[in-house]
C-alpha cells in the first residue's frame, strides 16, 4: 500500500527537509519502519524504544487519531499518515 507520511517541522532535519515521504506498508508500523529505513534519524525522533512511540508523538491516519495501538492500524492505498508533536507552550 502506498502511503504518504507527513513529517512534522521539528523532524524534517532527519528527512533532508522533506515534508512528505511516500512509503509502502500494510500497517502504520510497517510504514514507519520503512520511513526509518530511508531516514534512520527518524527512529530516535519517533520512538522511545522498540515499538514504543515517544509520549509527545501523535499519529493521525487519514486525519483521524490512530491512538491507541497506532502501529498495528492497517493502512490502505492512498492513506496519509501525519506525524504530529504535542505542544506544551502558552
Amino acid at each position: 500500500m502506498a502511503v504518504k507520511v507527513h513529517i512534522h517541522t521539528t523532524h524534517r532535519q532527519f528527512t533532508n527537509g522533506s515534508e512528505v515521504v511516500e512509503v509502502k506498508g500494510n500497517t502504520v508500523g510497517e510504514c514507519l519502519n520503512q520511513l526509518i529505513k530511508e531516514f534512520p534519524g527518524m527512529e530516535k525522533a519517533l520512538f522511545a524504544k522498540k515499538d514504543k512511540l515517544h509520549n509527545i508523538v501523535e499519529v493521525y491516519l487519514s486525519h483521524v487519531s490512530a491512538y491507541p495501538d497506532e502501529l498495528v492500524k492497517p493502512v490502505k492505498d492512498g492513506d496519509e499518515i501525519h506525524l504530529v508533536v504535542m505542544l506544551a507552550g502558552g
Partner: protein
C-alpha cells in the same frame, strides 16, 4: 438588559445576525476563567473583554519578566516585576470598564483548582505546561464546565474544545508523562491561537456555529496552513472514560 452605553459599544457585533441583542446579553451574563495570563492568556483576555463578557477571572501565579514581552501583550515594560494578574487587570479594566475583572495570583494545583474556577461558565486553557492542563481538564470534567484548550510552540499552535460528558477530552490521547522544557515561541503564534480560542468561547456562550469538538485544529504559521484531525472519545480515558475505564 443592555444599557444604552453597552448597546452603542457593542453595536457592530450586535449587528451580526447570530449574536444580536440576545447573544450580547448572554455574553454579559457569562463568567469566564482564564488559566494563564501569558502569551495565550493575553489575546484571549483582550478579545473576551472587548466582546463584553460579564466577568473574567485571570489566574496566574507569575510575575512579569523582560523575556515575556515578545508575546505577552497584556504586559508592558513598566510592568516588569509586577504580578501578571495585576498587570492584566489594569489593562483590561481600561479596555472595558463594563467587564468585571478578577485576578488570582495562585499556582493551579489539584487541591485548589475547583475553588479557583468555581462559579465560572467556561475554563480557558492558556497554560504553559501540560501537567497543569491535565489538572484543569480533570476539574472541567468533574464540574461539567466546558474547557477550551490551546497550546503553542514556535510558529505552531493547536486548539480543541471540550464539552465534558459529550466530547473527547485533552486526556483521551494520553500516553504518559512528557518532559517539561522551555519552549520557543514568537508572539504572533499565541495571537492566532488565542484568538481562535476566544472565538470558540464566544460561540459557545452565545450558542452559535460549529465548535472544535472532537476536532483538533493545528495551525502552522510557517506554511500558513490549518489542519484538522478527528479525535475520538476514548472509553478508557482516565479522566472522561467510563467508571470501569477510570479504574
Amino acid at each position: 438588559m443592555l444599557t444604552p452605553n453597552e448597546r452603542e459599544r457593542y453595536d457592530r457585533q450586535i449587528m451580526i445576525e447570530e449574536i444580536g441583542q440576545e447573544g450580547q446579553e448572554k455574553l454579559k451574563r457569562s463568567r469566564v476563567a482564564i488559566a494563564g495570563a501569558g502569551g495565550l492568556g493575553s489575546p484571549i483576555a483582550i478579545y473576551l473583554t472587548v466582546a463584553g463578557i460579564g466577568m473574567i477571572r485571570m489566574i496566574d501565579h507569575d510575575q512579569v519578566t523582560l523575556s515575556n514581552l515578545n508575546r505577552q501583550i497584556l504586559h508592558w515594560e513598566e510592568d516588569i516585576g509586577r504580578k501578571k494578574v495585576d498587570s492584566a487587570r489594569a489593562k483590561l479594566r481600561n479596555l472595558n470598564r463594563e467587564v468585571k475583572i478578577e485576578g488570582i495570583a495562585e499556582t493551579i494545583t489539584e487541591s485548589n483548582v475547583s475553588q479557583l474556577v468555581d462559579g465560572c461558565d467556561v475554563i480557558v486553557d492558556a497554560m504553559d505546561n501540560i501537567p497543569t492542563r491535565y489538572i484543569l481538564n480533570r476539574c472541567a470534567i468533574e464540574k461539567q464546565i466546558p474547557f477550551f484548550h490551546g497550546a503553542v510552540n514556535g510558529f505552531e499552535g493547536r486548539v480543541m474544545t471540550i464539552l465534558p460528558g459529550k466530547t473527547a477530552c485533552l486526556r483521551c490521547l494520553y500516553r504518559g508523562p512528557v518532559p517539561q522544557e522551555k519552549f520557543p515561541v514568537i508572539g504572533v503564534t499565541p495571537a492566532v491561537v488565542g484568538s481562535i480560542q476566544a472565538t470558540e468561547v464566544i460561540k459557545y456562550l452565545v450558542g452559535m456555529g460549529k465548535l472544535l469538538t472532537n476536532r483538533l485544529l493545528i495551525y502552522d504559521g510557517l506554511q500558513v496552513t490549518f489542519s484538522e484531525f478527528t479525535i475520538n472519545k476514548n472509553p478508557n480515558c482516565d479522566h472522561c472514560g467510563s467508571p470501569v475505564g477510570k479504574g
